[in-house]
Amino acid sequence: MKLTIPAFVGRIAFSALAALIGAIFALPLLWFLFAPFNARAELGLALPDPWTLNNFVTVFGNSYAVQALWNSFIQAVGGVILVGAAATLAAYALSRSSIPGKGAVTYILLLFSSVVSGSAAMVPIFLIVSAAGLMDTHLAVILTFAGGLLPTAMFILRDFIDSIPKSYEESAMVAGASPVQAFFDVALPVIRPGIVVVVVWGFVNIWGSFLIPFILLRSDSNMPASVAIYSFYSEAGTPIVTLLAAYSLIYSLPVIALYLFVSWKFGFRFFGGIKA
């Protein structure tokens, strides 16, 4: 179809507006493209002269900073292993068994998971962790996140499992497999893409979070990167910009990598929209 002139102008205007909004969204992030590679970076936008990796060398020479990245990794991986395993089992049960009260359980979970947010429940979470004697441990952060992320993870996976025909497992059971065997050998491989989505989503959530570790951890040796980043401030409280910029970039890389992985593999859709 040939475009009329007003329609053509309209399309250009639309493109220009979309590009402009995109540019405005990019502005606060531009600084991050340059500062990490500039040995004399300040808060202003400036092209590095010369481009250097010195800031990264300094970060990796700082044992506390490296430890913090490792702590983030432990907490995020520990959390997603728990979430992935527990959510898969539970979602499978919700989808494939006929336990009485299934509907009520789902409704209650849905309700509580949206009512009990981290910022509303910080006091009781602190008290529970404290009463359990888990204060200032990785386990405290791992368990808290596992509990908080599980309801949503279960819904994602239950929807996913509901969409898989039961005949897969049925034929396995006709061939003599037990229900548990049918789950591990037949259903699990088919569910795997759903589990990957849940695991990536959980990892990004835990990796990036600030409030929970900030409340539950005390000692420097347990702090994840999100909290430890505040150690790159001088005594006077001004940020050491070069280190902060390089560290922020390193800390963001796993999130960017996972985003690219998911959008390449599945087409980025909604899973990330779900925040705990």
Partner: protein
């Protein structure tokens, strides 16, 4: 969060389930335990603590006393309620913050973006989407620091641009902290609304728009008469979700610390200050209870809409 509501009656056509009840219960146990301890117990525990004078340190840390409604009365004390740094001030601030940054900012901007990227060339769409989504997926502390640098009075990118256009520079974090966090939260969260509306628009049969094109409709007419009415359900879902998230967000703390002089102290930040800086757990718990009640109201509306959709 799924909107799939719950089927009231499981189909009883055949009494055959792949998983026996015993196995099903075993499969549910690990998740059940974790969710109970870290989601359901906190809900009831916070209510209990809110009726005590528990503190973080000192005598009442170990042996808190029951104080009845004292915490609630001090939150709602009419003499101080609206003063800066008090609960009422914080609650009103949060309401304005949700209205301005979620309902107006994120939803409208998301709607505009979703509509724009339906028609623009793919490369424009990809670039725009990349930055909008980047603002949303990057870790919150990184974003907080990026904005700190962006807004810096002397060198920040924003002031550099303003100067370039011949406009006066400003120390926005000091002068307009509220509008800073409104813009910040709009920028941070618009991606969700954009993606939700984008997928809603894509689910409309293209023939509707083609028919409108033949009739010579403008983009605005197509938006108003076809797009908007057909995604009404998605808009309601979006508004409720972003309202709840914005109401509970703690991220502005990373940019402003709740200051200067409490001017950006949202309820989540107020809760943190009362409990973990003033060490008044009982009062902090009372704030938590009120936040949860507000969340509950929104969640019930959300779930009832989900149910109605299923029935229809």
């Amino acid at each position: 969060m799924t909107t799939e509501p719950i089927e009231a009656k499981p189909k009883k056509v055949r009494n055959f389930a792949l998983l026996s009840n015993r196995a099903g219960a075993a499969f549910l146990t690990p998740a059940g335990l974790l969710v109970s301890v870290f989601v359901i117990v906190p809900f009831f525990w916070v209510i209990f603590v809110s009726f005590t004078n528990r503190t973080l340190l000192g005598r009442t840390a170990l042996n808190p006393e029951f104080v009845g409604l004292a915490n609630y009365l001090s939150l709602f004390d009419p003499a101080t309620f609206f003063q800066r740094g008090q609960f009422g001030f914080s609650l009103i601030l949060t309401t304005q913050f949700v209205l301005a940054s979620a309902l107006l900012g994120q939803a409208l901007l998301g709607l505009l973006l979703a509509w724009l990227i339906q028609t623009v060339p793919p490369w424009v769409k990809r670039i725009t989407e990349t930055f909008v989504i980047a603002a949303w997926i990057l870790p919150e502390v990184v974003i907080g620091f990026a904005w700190f640098a962006f807004l810096d009075r002397d060198q920040g990118t924003l002031n550099m641009l303003l100067e370039g256009f011949g406009l006066p520079k400003g120390d926005f974090l000091l002068q307009q902290p509220f509008w800073v966090i409104v813009v910040f939260n709009t920028w941070r969260g618009a991606a969700f609304s954009m993606m939700l509306f984008n997928s809603a628009f894509s689910s409309i049969p293209p023939s509707y728009f083609q028919a409108a094109d033949v009739a010579g409709a403008s983009s605005w007419q197509k938006f108003r008469d076809i797009g908007l009415p057909l995604i009404r359900g998605h808009i309601v879902t979006d508004l409720i979700l972003i309202t709840m998230w914005t109401f509970n967000t703690f991220t502005p703390f990373l940019l402003t610390n709740g200051g200067p002089s409490y001017r950006t102290e949202l309820v989540s930040i107020y809760n943190y200050r009362v409990a973990f800086q003033d060490f008044q757990f009982g009062k902090g718990a009372a704030v938590g209870v009120i936040m949860m009640l507000i969340n509950l109201a929104f969640a019930l509306v959300y779930l009832s809409i989900g149910r109605k959709k299923k029935v229809r």
